[in-house]
């Protein structure tokens, strides 16, 4: 297993990525798998995006946000409005990316405001603020008849293909990897370790926090948009605290501060959720129970703070070798 701890040979990662995307395209184009498998794969992709993006705030930055379902809701509703009500005459090929980006941008803008609020408080109070944000989004949507109110938003086109999902997964992973390993992004990790010390060392922790919140919520919105165009029906009660908890389970199951952990956590969770489907409401007893047991016995998750070498930029290894 030595090769797993080494950076991949040059070009292998790109080639692998190309093969994956081509496979997604082929599966989509020629109908290689049945609808159920396809549904699960798309769900998996969306869960990976959610998990990695929440991990940026909860794992790398070490804050505690429970409002991710709120960003999802913003992205889902705005993208549904764009694709159903405002651009209904458009061609799905270019209209869908516009809708998804619009959803992500709205979520990112709101994430910016939430980031501003996060300057005031830390820890428990940030959890309260994000909780209040989630409740405001949910009850706000229930009071807007234009998007269906509590009945929900009907008639969204089924545009979330496997290829689109895979592309967004790659964009998310790439962006967050490059952010946390960048010079600027180290500030985000510094906030987790000790905010006061980071400030004293000249890290602009406010900028780092804002960046983390904006990027995290942008991809939360994107995932919401994909989710809306997968299910073709959304209503405010889908995006409640239970949805947020599901994302938290994925993050803390896979491991905080790890891309590979996020992918692993999302995969295990998605499969587990499908297997537990026959249990009905008991499913939502078992999933939080897993979360509680995890916190007691393995609080950092499967891959906590560790990373699969292939997700680490090549220069990291170079730096390590130079150091020796």
């Amino acid at each position: 297993m030595r090769w797993l701890r080494q950076p991949p040979p040059r070009g292998v990662l790109l080639a692998l990525l190309g093969v994956c995307l081509a496979a997604c395209f082929a599966v989509e184009r020629f109908g290689l798998v049945d609808d159920y498998v396809r549904f699960v794969l798309v769900t998996l992709g969306i869960n990976i995006i959610l998990c990695v993006s929440l991990n940026l705030v909860n794992g790398w930055m070490g804050e505690f946000s429970v409002g991710h379902a709120g960003f999802m809701a913003l992205g889902a509703y705005l993208s549904a409005c764009v694709s159903v009500k405002w651009l209904e005459w458009g061609d799905p090929l270019w209209m869908f990316p516009v809708a998804v980006c619009a959803g992500g941008l709205l979520a990112g803008a709101v994430g910016f405001l939430l980031g501003l609020l996060s300057f005031k408080t830390r820890g428990d109070y940030l959890a309260i603020i994000t909780l209040a944000f989630l409740m405001i989004v949910k009850s706000g949507l229930e009071n807007i008849p234009y998007v269906g109110g509590p009945r929900g938003f009907l008639g969204i086109g089924s545009h979330t293909t496997l290829l689109w999902t895979a592309l967004w997964v790659v964009v998310t992973l790439w962006t967050i990897r490059n952010l946390v390993y960048s010079r600027f992004g180290r500030g985000i990790v510094a906030v987790r370790e000790d905010e006061i010390a980071a400030n004293a060392m000249g890290v602009d922790t406010r900028k780092a926090k804002l960046a983390a919140f904006v990027v995290s919520s942008f991809f939360g919105g994107v995932a919401g948009a994909l989710f809306a165009h997968q299910l073709q029906f959304i209503n405010p009660s889908v995006f409640d605290i239970v949805k947020s908890t599901e994302i938290l389970v994925m993050v803390y199951l896979g491991g905080v501060g790890s891309l590979a952990g996020s992918i692993l956590g999302a995969t295990v969770f998605t499969i587990l959720a499908q297997l537990l489907q026959p249990l009905g409401t008991w499913r939502m007893v078992i999933l939080p129970l897993i979360l509680v047991l995890l916190m007691i016995f393995r609080p950092r998750g499967i891959m906590g703070m560790r990373e699969f070498a292939w997700f680490v930029p090549r220069r990291e290894f170079k730096r390590k070798e130079d150091g020796k």
Binding site: N58, G62, F64, V66, L117, K120, T121, G123, D124, Y125, A127, I128, I129, A132, F133, M135, I136, K138, S139, G140, E142, N143, I196, I241, V242, T245, L248, Y252, G280, T281, W282, M284, V285, L287, P288, L289, L291, V292, M295, I296, P299
Partner: protein, 291 residues
């Protein structure tokens, strides 16, 4: 004028229930510096305890109140033992997540066992009096009276007894208090028991006042009470009472002037606005940041 006096009584009734639940949040936060997100669901379960008790045996009100408070206190202590104690020295985030998870486990277990809302049997024959154009029922007086009585008793307990003193000491400094020979685990268990018992009392009173109970009560009512505790300054017991009555008044006011669907929106927006201007609540003190 009569109309407003009438609404004021309703506001005090609702506020009393919020304040009782909010006390549980604040006591636990004061002692453990941890938000017990499961407390709203403990309140919900207590209403179901009361329902089951009345189904089995039609006991009088006082007995029902005491039995439910005892059962809920036991539940609170069990949660602390099984879920929170192993994490006492873990990072704060782990404790928050565990509490959130516990709440969901309790809520969804109840939901699985009782998917539909239940109607609470009547245990208290209510009489309505009409005074100068205002009607007030004996039930409302009972709810307000029992809540205020419990709050006064709690205040006495915290200020005058040895356990109360130990609680305040732990809230001041959790690390040097054990050195003085205070049995910290016992005190924390007592805190959880009292907090949960107050939530249990609130569950019984809520079941009397609004007799349809369901598994979503923990979210609908328990989290409002949480907002009340935060508005008053979480960790501050008197702040919780202030926040409870304030929130009751705001909610009744909202429902009288705008559609009731806006209630949650306004309440949570109010929470955000207060946190922006008073980040530690109305009566809370800012945490000291040590460098």
């Amino acid at each position: 004028m009569d109309y407003f006096a009438q609404q004021a009584i309703n506001a005090v009734q609702l506020g009393s229930i919020y304040a009782l639940i909010a006390l549980g949040y604040s006591m636990v936060y004061g002692v453990l510096v941890m938000i017990n997100f499961a407390h709203g669901d403990v309140f919900m379960v207590s209403a179901f305890f009361c329902f089951l008790l009345l189904l089995v045996a039609p006991v009088p009100f006082v007995a029902a109140l005491l039995i439910v408070m005892l059962a809920t206190a036991l539940l609170g202590v069990c949660i602390e033992r099984l879920a929170y104690r192993p994490l006492r020295n873990a990072p704060r985030v782990s404790a928050i997540i565990t509490a959130l998870g516990c709440g969901l486990v309790i809520q969804n277990t109840t939901l699985s066992l009782s998917p539909y809302s239940q109607r609470m049997p009547e245990i208290f024959k209510s009489v309505t009096w009409h005074l100068a154009g205002i009607s007030i029922s004996s039930l409302q007086l009972l709810i307000i009276g029992v809540s205020v009585g419990l709050m006064v008793a709690l205040d006495f307990f915290i200020r005058k007894t040895r356990y109360g003193m130990a609680m305040r000491a732990i809230a001041q400094d959790r690390f040097s208090v054990p050195l003085m020979g205070v049995p910290v685990n016992t005190i924390i268990s007592v805190t959880f028991a009292i907090g949960a018992a107050l939530g249990g009392a609130a569950g019984v009173l809520y079941g009397l006042a609004y007799p349809v109970i369901g598994a979503s009560m923990g979210i609908l009512v328990g989290w409002k009470a949480f907002v009340a505790a935060v508005i008053g300054g979480i960790g501050n017991v008197r702040g919780a009472v202030l926040g409870g009555y304030l929130l009751g008044a705001v909610e009744v006011l909202i429902v009288t002037v705008m559609p009731s669907t806006y209630r949650d929106l306004v309440v949570y927006s109010l929470l955000l606005v207060i946190l922006v201007f008073k980040p530690y609540g109305l009566l809370g003190r800012p945490a000291v940041q040590k460098v």
